[in-house]
């Protein structure tokens, strides 16, 4: 295999760099004390925002590719998705290691009892499944089911901001902005829009049909 230095190569290289550099920045900030006297929350929050931002890019790729008629953009989607997973894994690791200080029993009870942890954990498990099944051989082996499984990312796009919303002390507008942004990104998908419209029509039909059914046959 020869390495081709084409536009995809450079785009991919740029994406890797853009995703890796914030981690270096984070490391330096924590090391130098610029992340505050107790950087645990800073670390977890920074990595959490990394998940949301990489996920936003991942989900923008296919609408962008269509709008700009640049189909090759899709070929960077797996890379971005894997960076989302990387940030999610680091976010979870930072929570377990630095906040819970490795107390696995506490982690278990938090996952069960705290809705925002439950939601976050569910999103992580989905991302984990997507990461494991990201190689080409898995795609070939799973066939049609691969597509269905990987639509799980849309669920992550909703669970992530909800997890963020429920985790803040209160009254924060930022999570709401992220949630609406992700909903907008989901609505960029024609098949999802069509599905929603179809579902809505069916609901309305049923609602308008019900009184007639209730009254019975007019004859």
């Amino acid at each position: 295999m020869t390495l081709k230095f084409d536009r995809i190569f450079w785009l991919k290289a740029g994406m890797h760099l853009a995703c890796a550099l914030p981690l270096l920045y984070l490391y330096l900030r924590v090391q130098s004390g610029a992340a505050g006297g107790d950087p645990v929350q800073y670390l977890i929050h920074f990595l959490g925002m990394g998940i949301l931002h990489t996920l936003a890019v991942t989900l923008s790729l296919s609408p962008l590719a269509r709008r700009l008629r640049m189909g090759w953009l899709i070929r960077t989607r797996r890379l971005m998705g894997l960076w989302t997973f990387t940030y999610a894994a680091l976010h979870l690791a930072a929570f377990v290691v630095f906040d819970l200080l490795g107390d696995w029993r506490l982690l278990l009870s938090e996952v069960i009892e705290r809705p925002y942890i439950t939601v976050g954990m569910l999103a992580f498990v989905i991302l984990l499944l997507l990461a494991i099944t990201s190689p080409m051989w898995a795609q070939r082996k799973l066939g049609r089911r691969w597509q269905a499984l990987h639509r799980g990312v849309y669920l992550v796009a909703l669970l992530g901001p909800i997890h963020f919303w429920w985790s803040v002390k209160s009254g924060d507008l930022e999570p709401a902005l992220y949630l609406s942004g992700f909903v907008a990104l989901l609505l960029c998908r024609p098949w999802l829009r069509r599905g929603l419209v179809k579902g809505w029509r069916r609901l309305r039909l049923r609602a308008t049909a019900t009184p007639w059914v209730d009254q019975g046959d007019p004859k």
Binding site: G37, Y42, L101, E113, Y116, K169, S170, L173, E174
Partner: protein
């Protein structure tokens, strides 16, 4: 600047101190932003001179005191207290201050007095969080807090003007703040400009934002979880790096039960959290 004081009291809490550097660089002070590092970064320009604190309401002798007047009238002592945040982290901090009861006694609460209300400075020019809801965490400023009169008169309740032997840094609530060690940190209101003695329970900021999550009392209580996270344990911020922190069991009333539990004899603490 150094602040003179005499005597140091621990009230049976022998925990090692949280290093000064951490106490002044990890703060919740939404007037300057919601991140823990925002207050240190954005509060340094806060002008604390001149500063007056007004005491009014159900008192025989209302008044207006400058910080210098307070320092002249009420001798400072050191109080080493645990600070337990509702977010489940904690510190041990050597405050300098005087009991709030001394100021209240000077003002002479009337027979109708039942509560004490506190208010933080409202100055959007100086406090960026008050200029934009997005920065200030959606809080309706000014920040307000309150105590029952009995809590306010309790000898542990401190008006603090310093920590680690020096005047308070802006991010810790300069020039004067409340410290109520048996309650979650948000009760210990910072940069106070007004104290009002009232005949009814005053509104409090976090309670107004989410009443089912933050009660008026907000006593530290491992048995009553926050609806979204556990309060059974806390991460103690002490010496050393990231991995040297410890997760310790949270104590009822933050370990000050022997001094304060009498205040709540007739109160269902699960309902009045």
């Amino acid at each position: 600047t150094p602040l003179p004081y005499s005597g140091s009291h621990r009230f049976g809490i022998e925990d090692p101190l949280t290093p000064e550097q951490k106490v002044i660089s990890h703060n919740n002070f939404y007037e300057f932003g919601t991140a823990k590092t925002d207050p240190q970064q954005h509060a340094q320009e806060l002008s604390t001179e001149p500063w007056h604190i007004e005491i009014s309401g159900e008192v025989a002798r209302p008044g207006r005191y400058s910080v210098a007047q307070l320092l002249a009238q009420f001798p400072l002592e050191e109080r080493i207290y645990r600070m337990r945040c509702v977010e489940a982290w904690s510190m041990v901090i050597p405050w300098l201050g005087f009991p709030l009861s001394q100021l209240l006694e000077t003002a002479q609460p009337s027979s109708r007095a039942s509560h004490v209300a506190f208010e933080t400075l409202y100055d959007p020019k100086q406090m960026r969080g008050q200029r934009a809801r997005g920065i200030g965490g959606g809080i309706d400023f000014p920040y307000v807090e309150g105590l029952t009169l009995a809590e306010a008169m309790h000898p542990l309740t401190l008006l603090s003007l310093g920590l680690y032997g020096k005047t308070l840094p802006p991010q810790n609530g300069a020039p004067i703040r409340l410290v109520v060690p048996w309650k979650y940190g948000f009760k210990s209101i910072k940069s106070i400009v007004r104290i009002r003695v009232t005949a009814e329970q005053p509104p409090t900021t976090w309670n107004q934002l989410a009443a089912h999550e933050y009660g008026f009392y907000a006593n530290v209580n491992p048995a009553v979880d926050h609806p979204r996270w556990s309060q059974a344990s806390e991460r103690r911020i002490g010496e050393g790096g990231l991995l040297s922190a410890k997760r310790i069991a949270t104590e009822p009333f933050n370990g000050y039960g022997e001094f304060v539990e009498d205040l709540y004899r007739d109160l269902d603490l699960a309902r009045h959290f």
